[in-house]
């Protein structure tokens, strides 16, 4: 395998700053890759979609989430099991597929050193919510530490090429990646804020939050904690849904907009919410030709204007349709879609086969609540917010005093509401640490009002209904 044509060379909005060209070895075969890019992207671009085989049935596995959450891309790098989407390319690295379960092995030299770090505020997750909170805390000189598993700050903003809706205060008109860049610059300018990148907070213990980094591990302790861990993309049951090339729409965004590698030249998109509609537009910009968007509901779920943007370039949207099967041997070569009835069951006889080389699932997200539960925060299953999420006050304190939530982990919404929640949580943490002050209280109330306005449109009705089930009074914080 060699030239796949999946590398993006010209993009109307993005400039890919690739490292120097190096050689890595996959199953012994030399591959050209760029230093510093995600290993998974390099392998995908080289045509190596199959990264491992499932332990039980030996089914091929490829990338699915591209943000280190799913484990679908675990490979052996120089003898150690690593997530290929989080591992960055180094010259000469030797990569092998794993058949069965990964074997835990320590790198030469024994266990990594453990460093203990104390801060006033610990923010887990450097996406829009975490960065907004850090902005408030940093502005007031609070000793803050942000820990994030990615190689860059910004969370999922870094893969958004479209301009954001909103008001001036909320960066409206800027593109997602530009907001991330602006924020990164701002956060780095605060002397009291530190950032640990490529470091994964994996557990909450009585000694503190344990985090695994590249060179060392950490035990992190703070006076207040913000869990801003975001959400993970949902799977959808259909025949062959594990075929390489079936991936989350967000994973496709990471591949093409962060690493400059197309998920396919003719992907089928499942789900016409904002994510599905936006990914279709981004595919057009990257030079792909989306085969279609299918949506099980009787109408699109996202904003009409996002649909109009892809319809005018000829991308069909099939409402009342779903995917029933993906086809192919080592990767997606086609998909069968069918019309659905009122109860979203495929109607026999309406099947249609569409030629496509990837299937991108934009069928919702689930809050990433693991750490919240480890903190002991009470959670509740709220379908309107994407699944399990934390009970919290309107000031975003969970049932565990001093532990706050903001962003998608508190209910799946969008970046703008995540930013406002981050600011609110930031003020709550500030006042927890420094005591209440009139001006801070006032500002927090203003932000609450702003958040309500953003959620006032009919499109947010579901979110509003969900929030009613999780907002608790201050007296319920244990």
């Amino acid at each position: 395998m060699g030239y796949t044509g999946l590398r993006i060379h010209h993009h109307p909005v993005l400039t890919f700053r690739r490292g120097r060209e190096v050689t890595i070895y996959f199953e012994g075969e030399p591959i050209k890759a760029f230093e510093g890019e995600a290993l998974a992207a390099a392998l995908y671009a080289a045509g190596h979609k199959i990264l491992r085989y499932s332990p039980k049935h030996g089914r091929p596995r490829s990338v699915f989430c591209m943000i280190g959450k799913c484990g679908s891309c675990i490979v052996e790098v120089d003898g150690i099991a690593k997530r290929a989407c989080q591992e960055l390319v180094r010259d000469g690295m030797r990569v092998r597929r794993i058949k069965g379960y990964p074997v835990l092995k320590e790198a030469g030299g024994g266990a990594k050193p453990v460093e203990e770090v104390e801060a006033e505020a610990l923010i887990i997750g450097g996406g829009p919510a975490g960065l907004a909170a850090a902005e408030v805390l940093g502005t007031h000189g609070v000793r803050t530490l942000i820990v994030d598993d990615s190689h860059r700050l910004g969370g999922q903003l870094i893969k958004q090429t479209h301009r954001f809706f909103g008001s001036r205060e909320l960066f409206a008109g800027l593109r997602g990646f530009q907001i991330a860049e602006k924020y990164e610059e701002k956060i780095r300018s605060f002397e009291s804020v530190d950032v640990l990148l490529r470091t994964t907070a994996i557990g909450v213990f009585k000694e503190g939050v344990f985090a695994v980094g590249e060179e060392r591990n950490y035990v992190l302790r703070a006076g207040t904690y913000l869990v801003a861990t975001g959400a993970v993309e949902n799977y959808l049951p259909f025949e062959n849904n594990d075929l390489p090339g079936v991936m989350g729409a967000g994973a496709a965004q990471t591949l093409m907009n962060v690493w400059g590698v197309l998920p396919g030249k003719r992907p089928l998109i499942v789900g016409a919410g904002n994510v599905g509609l936006i990914v279709a537009y981004q595919l057009l910009q990257a030079g792909a030709k989306p085969a279609a968007i299918v949506e099980a509901a009787p109408r699109i779920g996202g904003w009409f204007v996002h649909a109009a943007k892809v319809r005018r370039y000829g991308v069909p949207i099939y409402v009342r349709h779903t995917i029933v099967a993906a086809h192919g041997e080592e990767g997606v070569e086609a998909a069968t879609i069918a019309e659905v009835d009122e109860r979203w069951r495929p109607i026999p006889g309406t099947e249609k086969t569409i030629e496509c080389d990837a299937v991108l699932l934009a069928v919702g997200l689930t809050p990433n609540v693991d750490l919240l539960r480890q903190f002991g925060a009470k959670t509740k299953y709220v379908p309107e917010l994407g699944g399990l999420t934390a009970l919290r006050t309107e000031y975003l304190e969970t049932t565990v005093p001093g532990v706050y939530v903001a962003g998608d982990v508190a209910g799946v919404e969008e970046a703008t509401t995540a930013i406002i929640e981050g600011w609110i949580a930031g003020y709550s943490m500030l006042m927890k640490l420094r005591g209440e002050r009139d001006e801070w209280m006032k500002e927090r109330e203003r932000l609450l009002k702003l958040l309500k306005t953003y959620r006032s449109s009919p499109v947010s009705a579901r979110v509003r209904a969900g929030l009613e089930k999780v907002i608790i009074g201050g007296e319920e914080v244990a």
């Binding site: 010209h10 109307p12 909005v13 479209h162 301009r163 954001f164 809706f165 909103g166 008001s167 001036r168 409206a172 008109g173 800027l174 593109r175 530009q178 016409a272 509609l277 057009l284 910009q285 009787p298 109408r299 699109i300 904003w303 009409f304 204007v305 996002h306 649909a307 109009a308 943007k309 892809v310 319809r311 005018r312 370039y313 000829g314 991308v315 069909p316 949207i317 099939y318 409402v319 703008t416 306005t453 953003y454 006032s456 449109s457 009919p458 499109v459």
Partner: protein, 166 residues
Amino acid sequence: MREPSPDGIASPDLIKELGYVPNEERLRKGPVAIFECVEPIPCDVCVWACPLKAVSMGEITEKPVIDFNKCIGCGICVGRCPGQAIFVVDLSKDPPQVTVPYEMGEAPAKGVEVELLNRVGEPVGRGRVVKFFKDNLTYVVTVEVPSPELVMEVRAVRPVRGGDGA
């Protein structure tokens, strides 16, 4: 009230019903912005993008209101609108002109022939690029269209494949 179609198309009738189309006299007078913003999106980018203060809005989730007497059809809002839902039509010119946002690559240069696409991506004719400018990576491209009826149809352009605009 009409609604956009389930797969995301706003008909010219719906646009009219929402008050986004000026009267014949104003249309013939010169370039003017046509908004196709049909939902209560929490966004007011157009309001502060307009150098002539021709766009107003109540709460941020309300739809924009355009003062067609103030609007000169400069096209700045066309490039700024995050929904790419604003266009400029000019029936005072012969042939008439339409201005659309373009983010699919380098802008087709002045004089280049492009394919004109309607709201569902069907080619409805060809036209030449009259002018363009760039705003935060979005091109705002003005093209000539073959007939006056097409000013409310043409909503995107594509370089002609294999032609001088490719």
